[in-house]
């Protein structure tokens, strides 16, 4: 385990050097306080101070549309394929690192999803610490994701005139070696890092009326809550909340036939439990017919079901669902409403 230092003046060179060899993506400003991960060629394009991007970096781990199978009917041939890019992802916040860990769990659960697992190893992950709270929507502290918790190759923390970088993997180390822009961290840097973390513990507050460990219990008794009826009236089922969520992974499987009517492919694409047809079966029954029931399902998939299966919350606290909701349904307000109700 080691820490190295990159001077801020060298940051641009670092990204430029990386981009000269590999595809590098990072958070880029899109205006109106929106950001998205995009390919970058230089450090100048990157917004170091950004709030969670429109889509989380999950789009690189689990592409929106991903080929699984190629077939040729005339040959009776089916082949499982993986299409991938080698990508260096720069600037993943701790909440999104947690999101990736959630996906890792789901896809390595048996039976394993080999597409996900192989692709994941083609991606190099560079984390970036948030020194301050993103905005009023974030709730990373609630779920304990405001401090780094592994899941990266390198992790950057901004100090007054440099970045202190935690080197977590061999691959990360190779990258540091290659660029030759890093120096070993000195005590002063480690002190500064400690200072940053100390401050964070002060400013990052729970912001909901319930503690981390109580949360799942809250949901033990929340199924029949009136809160879902309120959400039923407000939700417009636009599907934004699930599409932007770093730990949502539902998908659809879609076939495509080429015009020769012999060759084609089978791929998977993101799907959303908020969409009306998602749980509808051929006999016409829809097991989560109301928007309220679908919202409840979403919350339960963050705070209850995964706790039973994977012993962790699947909400990373990134705040995206609240930020993007057309109806401004707020995750924190919903939790607080449940707490109030159960008082």
């Amino acid at each position: 385990m080691q820490y190295v230092i990159l001077k801020k003046v060298n940051f641009d060179d670092f990204i430029t050097a990386l981009a000269a060899q590999e595809k590098v993506v990072g958070p880029v400003a899109r205006g109106y306080d929106n950001f998205s991960f995009q390919e970058v060629k230089s450090g100048k394009e990157i917004s170091i101070k950004y709030i969670p991007t429109i889509l989380p970096p999950k789009k690189y781990f689990m592409p929106q549309r991903e080929k699984l199978i190629e077939f040729d009917k005339s040959q009776n041939k089916f082949e499982a394929v993986l299409e991938y890019d080698k990508v260096v992802i720069f600037g993943i916040h701790t909440c999104d690192l947690a999101g990736i860990q959630c996906l890792n769990m789901v896809f390595s659960d048996k039976p394993k999803d080999i597409n996900y697992l192989v692709r994941k190893n083609k991606l190099l992950i560079i984390g970036l610490e948030c020194n301050v709270y993103c905005d009023q929507y974030a709730s990373c502290k609630v779920v304990d994701n405001h401090l780094p918790n592994g899941g990266y190759d390198l992790f950057f923390t901004e100090l007054p005139d440099s970045f202190i970088v935690h080197v977590n993997t061999l691959r990360g180390d190779e990258l540091i070696e290659k660029t030759r822009l890093f120096n070993p961290a000195e005590k002063i840097h480690l002190d500064q890092l400690e200072e940053v973390r100390k401050k964070k513990r002060e400013i990052f507050k729970d912001e909901v009326k319930i503690g981390h460990h109580e949360l799942s219990k809250l949901f033990d008794r929340a199924y029949d809550s009136k809160v879902w009826e309120d959400l039923d009236k407000r939700c417009v089922a636009c599907g934004n909340c699930t599409n932007v969520c770093p730990s949502c992974y539902c998908f659809d499987i879609l076939d495509n036939m080429n015009f020769d009517f012999n060759t084609g492919d089978r791929s998977r694409g993101w799907d959303s439990c908020q969409n009306e047809p998602f749980a509808k079966v051929a006999t016409g029954e829809n097991f989560r017919k109301t928007r309220g029931a679908r919202q409840r399902h979403r919350y339960f998939r963050k705070f209850k079901y995964p706790v039973e299966r994977y012993s962790r919350y699947f909400c990373t606290g990134c705040g995206r669902c609240t930020r993007t909701c057309m109806a401004k349904i707020s995750l924190k307000e919903t939790i607080n409403a449940l707490v109030d109700e159960q008082k």
């Binding site: 015009f259 009517f261 969409n275």
Partner: protein, 248 residues
Amino acid sequence: MSKPKVAFFDFACCEGCQLQMANFGEVLLDILNLVDIVTFREVMSEKSEIYDIAIIEGSITTAHDTERIKNIRAKAKVVIAYGSCATIGGINGMKNKFDLEEIKKYVYRDGAKQIETLPTRAVHQVVKVDYFINCCPVYPPEILKVLKCVIAGIPYAVPDYAVCVECKLNENVCMYDKGITCLGPVTKAGCNSWCINNGNICYGCRGMVTNPAKNGQLDILARHKIPLDWITNKLDMYNKPRELDEQK
């Protein structure tokens, strides 16, 4: 398997959806490998009364056209409603907001007497439709998708969720964040949020989702201080004939 015979017919429309076929470029030749186009007045002088698949562009607005579409339905094995005018009434439906006599007089003055017109209807409001290709104009990737389904003889379901879904996947900055109202939340997806990708708003040309959230929408409007009639007016742009369904 012999190639299915395809006929194009146009009713009240701008013929832009037919033009989308020509806009395929050389891919059009691939399509022509799979089907025989036997009638396509806009680009062909050949005609045939025998066809398997009728592709209908335009809405039904006259008694004559009502008869014509019924005839086509009787002859065709498969009827495809093609474009907003045909699938939901589309832009022609704005007319239904007005008194028909009044609007006739406004546009044709003295000539109004000679003009015959009925409230605008979508094709499925007159005859049974087997496939819907929504959008104004039709979205080329969706045309191909549906044509493949037609040829394979399997159904095609228009996505019944909001344009927002695709819009988010395209990582557009939401129009509401920009302070502008957009019909994305109530409009059926399938166009890959075409308009928003190009910086404009969604006008709802694919028709409303089956079960739009009325309450939720009103909330949103209130929060953005948007008068209701702005949105209803916008919805009327393509979706006015939907009322004829609701009355049924």
